[in-house]
Amino acid sequence: MQHDRVASPEALDELESHLREEIDRQMRAGGSAETAFETAVEQIGHANALKYEFAKAGFAELVSAKLKDVIFTLAGIPNYSLASPMNTSNSDIEPRWATYLKGAAFLVPALFLWTLAAVFMVPKLQEICRDAGFPPATETGFWNVAHSAILATLFFREHWLLLSGAICLALALLEWRSTKWPRYRRATVGIMAFVLNSIVLISFFMMFLTALVAAPALFHHAK
């Protein structure tokens, strides 16, 4: 067994201790040393099968199995190979961590860009509008929409801590109290991520339009 590297030295010590116990028991029951040894070795199992099982219990194998499980779960691919033969059912409810992790991953780019816009772009845009003499009386309709996008950005910038705290609290309450929540968790978090992404996209578009409209006016003003 040692030559075939069936297991670690410690595991081999354990197997040896097991063999000795079994040989002792058989010899106490009246068996010869030789027969006792042969039977004990036979009972302990085939070296190749043991090698395979010990390899499965190794640290690297456990980590890689876990990693595979995480990747499959995130990708939404059913991973039947991990289920034991006695358990072929696969719950279609996505695990909690996967839902929140995906929700966060979809929100991170939008939130990053939005923060950048709120801190750097909006003040600059306000400055440009002021210099260009906005809002002109003729374009109030457009200006109202564009202005509200800027105001909304400013509002979120001021109260982001309060708002995100409220959302987290609501989610925590749902996780804690609601029994029906797990069923709707994925859909709700998905819709939230979609709506927030859309808001960021629309407000970016409005800022871009404002800049487009303000630029000619700025030139005109400069002349």
Binding site: I44, L62, P85
Partner: protein
């Protein structure tokens, strides 16, 4: 002559973890003793290949469900003793509930059939 049949290997494999955890719930034990106890309790119907127990024990240890320590027995032989950790106790409780559920469903069905 009536002959007891062996429990099929799929069921043996599936029941290995709950059996080990249930045994360790009674206190620490070592591989050989665990095998002997299972053999005795199942009247020999639940046959493990002896060596196969150790990879399962090691896997449970890696998972953080059980811990092990080498100890010298009264005969002077070194044995590796395993005992349950808190996470293992929790896992055992969960597995126990599932097995009891399966048991109660089967029991209910058989009761209906033989009344």
């Amino acid at each position: 002559m009536y002959r007891r049949s062996m429990i099929r290997k799929e069921l043996v494999a599936a029941s290995a973890e709950p059996l080990i955890l249930s045994l360790l719930e009674n206190g620490e034990s070592y591989g050989y003793a665990i095998i002997q106890e299972i053999k005795a309790r199942s009247e020999g119907q639940l046959q493990w290949t002896d060596g196969m127990l150790y990879p399962v024990l090691h896997r449970l240890e890696r998972r953080g469900w059980i811990r092990s320590r080498w100890k010298e027995s009264e005969t002077g032989r070194k044995r590796k003793y395993y005992s349950l950790k808190e996470d293992g106790r929790k896992a055992h409780k969960k597995q126990r509930e599932q097995w009891l559920k399966v048991h109660s469903v089967l029991k209910g069905l058989w009761k209906e059939q033989y009344v």
